[in-house]
Amino acid sequence: MTTHSQRLRETVCLFRARLTSLIRDVWFHPRLAELYPEFLFAIYGVTVSSAPAMRAAAGRCAGELADDPLAAWLRDYYLEHAEEEAGHEQWLLNDLHSLGVARQRVLERLPYTSVAALVGVQYYWMFHVHPIAYLGYIAVLEAPTSIEFLEEVSRRTGISLSSMSGHVMHATLDPGHVAEFDAALDSLPLLLHHQELITVSAIATIAHLEKVFSDILEHFARVDDPAGAATIFTTSGIALASPSSGF
């Protein structure tokens, strides 16, 4: 019998080929050393929303949905994970700072519209449908980069691992999160409409992430155009750490 998590993973795997291709275009970009700050900025926009969104979902579970049989479990799950995710955006701000992008510039710059759309749709579902939708978002986003891959990137680009601390910390801390998530999902007494909402949320997350990664690449494509490059974060003119330097 196919479990909830197997069904969800199969669907995500089947329909994320374009997203994977775009992620690959970023990680293997011939000018990744220059592009990396823009990549971090996009991720910062997503990461800064994670703990508040999970707290909002937990609040909805504790409020008008308190009689829902899934609400207590979801509230505890979201609160626990909000605690784990809290402050992770600081790693990204530190990384950007180490690459020459001042914190104030990051905070003053408008996040991508695609990032707002990615996160915003989750608020619609959690407040107007059911907060279980956020599990579909987590299922797609919680997939940490491997430390071996990050070491390869560091060697290839010269970006120090200490300037990739957001990625490194997730690679180090999160390897068991996917299995934990799947086990938790399979333990829930989901009805068909819960399962559908989780899947639809995951599908929408894939679609919005495709746009986020397209935006990273499209923004960077304008880096050599003086008119278009004004807001783009790059390492241009910044001496990168030696490729051999460790974390």
Binding site: R7, R18, I23, I43, V46, V140, L141, T145, L192, L209
Partner: protein, 67 residues
């Protein structure tokens, strides 16, 4: 009309893309609402171009984002 046929008609699965039995089974287990969502946001099942471009294992090594 099967789910695979709906997605082919919507252009999300290339007609010439040979689906494996497992892929067909995965697509056909989706509900009408889930198929509607796929069509709405235009998320395509990987065609031959993407299958060629995405190397085995990269998906897991690269991760997705940070959460």
């Amino acid at each position: 009309m099967s789910n695979v046929e709906r997605l082919q008609q919507a252009g999300l699965i290339q007609i010439h893309h040979p689906l494996t039995d497992a892929e067909i089974q995965s697509v056909n287990q989706l509900s009408p609402a889930e198929i509607d969502a796929l069509i709405s946001v235009r998320v395509k099942l990987g065609d031959e171009f993407f299958q060629r471009k995405v190397q085995d294992g990269d998906s897991h090594r690269m991760g997705t984002l940070l959460l």
